[in-house]
């Protein structure tokens, strides 16, 4: 089965890091093919940023996303630019404080207060890890074990506890919000 995920936000939120962590979790630890492509608006600091991840059980031939199964937005811009690429039966994950979908938005959506949660933990930068926790809990696109290992591979030494806590918190939030 092929799963297409798009993560969108602005530069500095760790969007591409999210893609790298999830792709690494799939390839290195779950031992499934994954291809990551990334793109960003280079015109200004804090411009839009996106990471596209294709996961599959077979070798991936076409590396780009076509119809999203999962769409994750961490900024209003990210939402507005790409929300139309989500399939009708797709799953959306939005940052509660940063994304307001338009009236009539119908797709299955879970709102995650990732930024507030990360702030409460003392480090806003782990908001992306909170989102990864929520995504993994809701969709099982990668295993919890693989995600944890890939996170530990990708973060600075000395921040292991913080990131593990952020990941767990994200899973909890998804269980609460995703119902």
């Amino acid at each position: 089965m092929r799963t297409e995920i798009r993560m969108a936000g602005f530069g500095g939120q760790g969007i591409i890091t999210m893609g790298k962590i999830l792709g690494r979790a799939a390839v290195i630890y779950d031992r499934r093919p994954a291809v990551l492509t990334e793109d960003y608006g280079p015109e200004k600091i804090g411009g839009w940023s996106k990471a596209d991840l294709v996961l599959s059980d077979e070798e991936i031939q076409y590396p780009l996303v076509d119809r999203l199964d999962i769409f994750l937005a961490l900024s209003q811009d990210g939402y507005e630019m790409f929300h139309h690429t989500l399939r009708v039966d797709g799953q959306a994950l939005f940052e509660s404080d940063l994304v307001n979908p338009e009236k009539g938005w119908k797709q299955r959506t879970t709102f995650i207060p990732a930024l507030q949660t990360a702030s409460d933990m003392g480090k806003k930068v782990v908001a992306n890890i909170v989102m990864i926790g929520a995504l993994v809990e809701l969709t099982q696109v990668v295993s919890v074990k693989a995600a944890k290992k890939a996170i530990l591979d990708s973060i600075p030494k000395g921040t292991e506890d913080l990131n593990e806590a952020a990941f767990s918190k994200g899973r909890e939030l998804a269980r609460e919000e995703g119902g």
Partner: protein
């Protein structure tokens, strides 16, 4: 670095180059090849090599050629606009017989064009961009793994024949991240240029019995002059028609007479094929998916993937054209490699082209295949 990685294509190319023995990089960063320069700046000092950021692309390739003449395996990487600037020195590397690798991570052109988006628009420039007569070797990787593997091939071919060798990547394969397996050092075969097999006092460059003459390196007592002018065996300029006739054909024969050895391609599902799809580089994956989809609806399609667009795999194309009713060439340009396919094919050849900015979706190729057979 032996083991399994989740790595970007541009970075995989760096690791392949290092595994092949590259210890000198000079370049000027340009999207979408900049990750190569970035990783080289970090990796070269760690492996005892040198990294220099040069003022422009002409200087970059000049430095690479200098390093090569001093004995180093050397490379540079760029994209369209920089590739244009490098054309003059590609000729210099051919004339000096200085082995080196030039990587072009293609983006949309002409000119500044589409800095962040893919294209295969430099394929003919790769073959004919420098002035004068010469043969060219170019590899076109289609996956992250091939960015690693073909970098090694490129260095080995460059060293064996003392020629510049091109790696014609593109923004898709350069900037996508996927699985990469780096084998152990013992598993990687590495070539080095032929060196003189006699001591300096017995050495004479006048022996041109070998198509690829031994390369002398400075500091070892061998004497040789080097010039970009047409030259005699000692390297001294001799600008005459007769000297040109002995030098230039030999430079061409180095590749021509070893074509069987150099040319690489991949054939799939061609045995009973009625239509042949020809692709290269990043079009490998979408092409293969399209051929499989065509088979599912009863279209007997097969695929010929060019691993070396140059030298052009003419025999496989000839063979293919005798087997199928028609060939479709799918490439992200307005018609480049299709010309070479037409030169050797004995059946109708159709073209699916795009000016750049995106890769073809397998469905688009499938639609074109349907049209070709009706």
């Amino acid at each position: 670095m032996t083991g399994e990685h989740f790595m970007k294509g541009d970075e995989a190319l760096v690791e392949g180059s290092i595994a092949a023995g590259c210890r000198f990089y000079a370049g000027y960063p340009i999207t979408p090849s900049s990750e190569i320069a970035e990783r080289m700046a970090w990796r070269m000092p760690l492996v005892g090599g040198d990294y220099i950021q040069i003022e422009d692309e002409m200087g970059s390739l000049a430095a690479v050629i200098g390093a090569s003449c001093a004995g180093a395996k050397a490379m540079t990487a760029t994209s369209g606009p920089g590739f244009s600037l490098m054309m003059e020195h590609i000729g210099l590397a051919i004339m000096l017989e200085a082995p080196c690798v030039v990587v072009d991570i293609q983006r949309g052109g002409p000119s500044t064009g589409l800095p962040t988006l893919m294209s295969q628009g430099d394929m003919m420039q790769a073959r004919w961009g420098s002035h004068g007569d010469y043969e060219m070797v170019a590899y076109a990787p289609g996956t992250v793994q091939e960015m690693f593997d073909f970098a090694i091939k490129a260095f080995n071919t460059a060293e064996r024949f003392r020629v510049p060798v091109l790696v014609m990547g593109d923004q898709i394969v350069g900037q996508m991240t996927a699985r990469l397996v780096i084998p152990s050092e013992e598993e990687i075969e590495v070539s080095y240029r032929p060196l003189p097999d006699v001591p300096p006092e017995e050495y004479s460059p006048a022996d041109v019995s070998r198509l690829v003459p031994p390369m002398v390196l400075p500091g070892e007592g061998y004497g040789l002059h080097m010039t970009a002018l047409t030259h005699d065996e000692f390297g001294y300029p001799e600008t005459s028609a007769s000297r040109q006739e002995s030098l230039v054909p030999r430079l061409i024969r180095k590749i021509k007479e070893n074509e069987q050895d150099i040319v690489e391609y991949e054939e799939r599902l061609l045995d009973d094929a009625e239509v042949g799809l020809v692709v290269y580089g990043s079009m490998k994956g979408p092409g293969w998916e399209a051929v499989q989809a065509a088979r599912k609806e009863g279209i007997k399609a097969g695929i010929l993937r060019l691993i070396t667009p140059w030298p052009f795999p003419r025999e496989p194309v000839e063979r293919l054209s005798e087997r199928v009713a028609a060939i479709l060439v799918a490439e992200v340009n307005m018609g480049q490699m299709v010309h070479s396919v037409r030169e050797y094919a004995r059946c109708p050849v159709h073209h699916l082209g795009h000016p750049g900015g995106r890769i073809f979706h397998p469905d688009e190729i499938l639609r074109a295949l349907r049209k070709v057979i009706t």
